[in-house]
């Protein structure tokens, strides 16, 4: 608190450091966790929602989760490098959030629909979408352009929180279509970050989802920062507790634990598909890198904080678990690294080979039924381009 702000002398004023300490301790008590940072398996974990969570994976499934985690991190690193080399205009790295994305992404059933922010490269990968597509967006070749219905994965949304309303409306449509109520029901997941929880749209989405009992799961990756602002600047209470005020359950999960994230998301989606309405999941995680490649996190956080989270790495703990139980050997880890490297190299080659779009394509797809005014403008621009000597057009 600033000097001279009128606080009586001697009255206890909590500093932000103290408040953070308290909320971090509380967060850890309330966390659903099935795999510790040291790689110890926890059989079951009871969430703040009173639900007991557990998972039962085969050895093959554990290895497959590990492969996805490593691959999405490797592709992400390649994209960051491509940006640094001037091949992408921008990149929003998922580094540190692999478990939250792979765990929730793999919890989706084929019929479920996902609404991402602009950082869900890991979820996108789990939905089977070609990882080149977000790179074309960040290279500036297009604005996305994949078919959301084909992959059940909507386009990236850059305006913070806007997609939570789209997801909620879509979920209302699912319910109106009579597609909830059984195991084959459909559910919708909306991704958002801790910063987005301050947005009006997100709070309106909570109201809508609640009063219409929409089959939607709000999956909030609390990566601790909205660019530079810590989450305490967005909320005075733990985020998952917000849900109660809107009339649906909220649960906080260790977002660096792929097993717990999977378990909590799968349960929430199944509740939604069975007609039991929305859930808010707060995946407690950490953005190890910058907000985007345009950001400099050393201006607003301490190296010691980053180191503390480094010790909770989402991939290292799975590897420790696999090793401890003899589920995977050194050959497997080497093969996964090599496969991820090859995928990254292929991605790089394809980015470098990506042609710039033709100028006149900027007039395409403005309106489904077109516009005579736009047609005339396109024609004028075509003639202008053609007026130059040596025009290839």
């Amino acid at each position: 608190m600033a000097k001279g702000s009128g606080t009586p002398r001697g009255r206890h004023v909590p500093t932000r450091t103290r408040r953070r300490q308290r909320t971090t301790e509380a967060a850890e008590r309330e966390l659903v966790q099935l795999l510790t940072p040291e790689g110890e398996r926890i059989e079951k974990s009871i969430g703040a929602d009173g639900v007991e969570y557990r998972v039962d994976f085969t050895d093959e499934e554990y290895r497959s989760l590990y492969r996805d985690l490593v691959t999405v991190r490797r592709l992400d690193a390649e994209a960051t490098a491509l940006q640094r080399q001037g091949e992408l205009g921008l990149w929003a790295s998922l580094l540190g959030q692999e478990a939250a994305q792979v765990g929730s992404g793999r919890a989706l059933r084929p019929q479920d629909m996902a609404f991402p922010t602009y950082r869900e490269h890991g979820v996108l990968y789990c939905r089977g979408i070609d990882p080149i597509l977000p790179l074309s967006l960040f290279r500036g070749v297009n604005h996305g352009g994949w078919d959301p219905n084909k992959y059940k994965f909507h386009l990236y949304t850059i305006v913070i929180g806007a997609q939570t309303l789209h997801a909620t409306g879509y979920a209302m449509g699912v319910a109106m279509d009579g597609k909830t109520g059984g195991d084959d029901g459909e559910a919708v997941i909306a991704y958002l970050g801790d910063g987005a929880t301050a947005q009006g749209d997100v709070n309106e989405a909570f109201v809508w989802a609640s009063v219409f009992n929409a089959p939607v799961v709000f999956f909030c990756q609390n990566n601790q920062y909205a660019i530079s602002e810590p989450w305490e600047r967005q909320t005075r209470i733990p985020l998952y507790q917000r849900a109660q005020g809107f009339g649906f359950p909220g649960v906080r999960v260790d977002g660096n634990d792929v097993l717990a994230t999977y378990a909590v998301t799968r349960t929430a989606l199944d509740n939604a598909r069975h007609g039991q309405g929305p859930t808010f999941i707060e995946a407690y995680t950490y953005r190890m890198g910058a907000h985007t490649t345009s950001d400099d996190p050393t201006r607003y956080r301490l190296p010691s904080e980053v180191e503390a989270w480094q010790a909770k790495d989402p991939i290292a703990r799975v590897r420790a678990f696999l090793e401890k139980h003899g589920i995977a050997d050194a050959d497997f880890f080497a093969e996964v690294d090599e496969q991820a490297r090859r995928e990254a190299m292929r991605l790089r080659e394809r980015v470098l080979a990506m042609p710039d779009p033709e100028p006149l394509t900027m007039f395409d797809h403005v309106y489904p039924h077109g516009s005579p005014v736009l047609d005339a403008e396109r024609e004028q621009f075509r003639q202008y381009l053609d007026s130059f000597e040596g025009s290839a057009r």
Partner: protein, 329 residues
């Protein structure tokens, strides 16, 4: 052919009823549109006949209305959103401009959002602040949106159905002060052969001055034409109907004939539709013009208190004053 005399409001109600009847994917959503039938009763009786899943009373949040309508459209529905008053559309502005308008473009044509956003617009009803605005320029300025305004009961009935059938996202402006004005409406009119949605229409032929108007000002322009005729001047009145895209073929033809043009709208002049019209007419009809294109508009003030609105709004006298001035050059 069944022709009935209906108010503009009732004609909209009948058009919405037809749209709900013809396509089970059409849903109406907004504040108080259900039991109450909307504050202007435009959706009167529709929830009773089509149910709460087709005519949805929403929570009181405009961004939520448009944002969830986008989700419903992605799911295959054709939402018709009612914004209760013009001045309440701004909380939804981001969803309209950044999402509704751009989704088709962003997806390279793979997503269509056939959403109609109905907005009662304009003044003249003695309302409190935020209930009398003319926000059309904000939307006409935005690529990806189409903007139309109806002026008569017949057009209201047909245009609302055409807008709902269109795959383009459409801002549908309703002249609220004309809701209670009556006119003949041909109810059996086949939409396929009806006058096109995005076309302007010559509504009164004349030889001396071209007057362009839309929405509530069409009536005003026609009244001015009657008065001018009594004084021996023939105004040619064109109802623009489509504000984006503008359909100006008939306008250019008219101005080349008359050599004079007056644009009338309630919205302020600064960077408004009249400015765009004046520029386009100057580009196309430069050698035919006997005078600059003049604008008769609301003033560049916030919409004033109700007891000042008769002075703020363009009326017959101000239109005729501009007509007189075009002969001063």
């Amino acid at each position: 052919m069944a022709t009935e005399t209906l108010t503009l409001g009732k004609a909209l109600n009948e058009g919405l009823r037809r749209a709900l009847d013809n396509d089970p994917k059409v849903v109406i959503m907004g504040e108080d549109v259900g039991k109450l039938g909307g504050v202007f009763r435009i959706t009167d009786g529709l929830q009773k006949d089509f149910g709460e899943n087709r005519v949805i009373d929403t929570p009181l949040a405009e961004s939520g209305i448009i944002g969830t309508a986008i989700g419903l459209a992605l799911r295959g529905y054709r939402p018709v959103c009612e914004i209760q008053f013009d001045g309440f559309v701004y909380p939804a502005y981001d969803q309209i401009v950044s999402q509704v308008a751009k989704m088709h473009y962003r997806s390279q044509g793979q997503i269509k959002l056939p959403i109609v956003i109905r907005i009662p617009f304009g003044g003249g009803i003695g309302a409190v602040e935020h209930h009398s605005e003319s926000p059309e320029a904000y939307f006409a300025h935005t690529a990806g949106l189409k903007v139309v305004a109806c002026a008569t009961p017949q057009d209201a009935y047909v245009m609302i159905q055409q807008a709902i059938m269109s795959d383009d996202p459409i801002i549908f402006l309703e002249p609220k002060r004309r809701y209670w004005e009556k006119g003949p409406v041909e109810l059996d009119i086949p939409l396929g052969t009806a006058y096109p949605l995005h076309a302007s229409r010559l509504v009164r032929p004349g030889t001396d001055v071209t007057v362009l108007a839309y929405g509530p000002m069409v009536r005003t322009a026609l009244d001015a034409a009657d008065a001018a005729a009594a004084e021996g001047r023939e105004l040619e009145v064109i109802d623009l109907r489509s504000l984006s895209p503008l359909d100006l073929g008939v306008v250019f033809e008219s101005v080349r004939k008359t050599g004079r043009c007056v644009v009338v709208h309630e919205a302020p002049s600064n960077v408004g539709l009249g400015a765009e019209l004046a520029a386009r007419i100057t580009e196309e009809c430069f050698y035919s013009l006997e005078a600059p294109v003049l604008r008769v508009t609301g003033f560049n003030t916030p919409y004033p208190a109700a007891r000042l609105e008769d002075d703020y709004l363009p009326d017959l006298d101000r239109v005729l004053d501009a007509v007189d001035r075009t002969f001063g050059w």
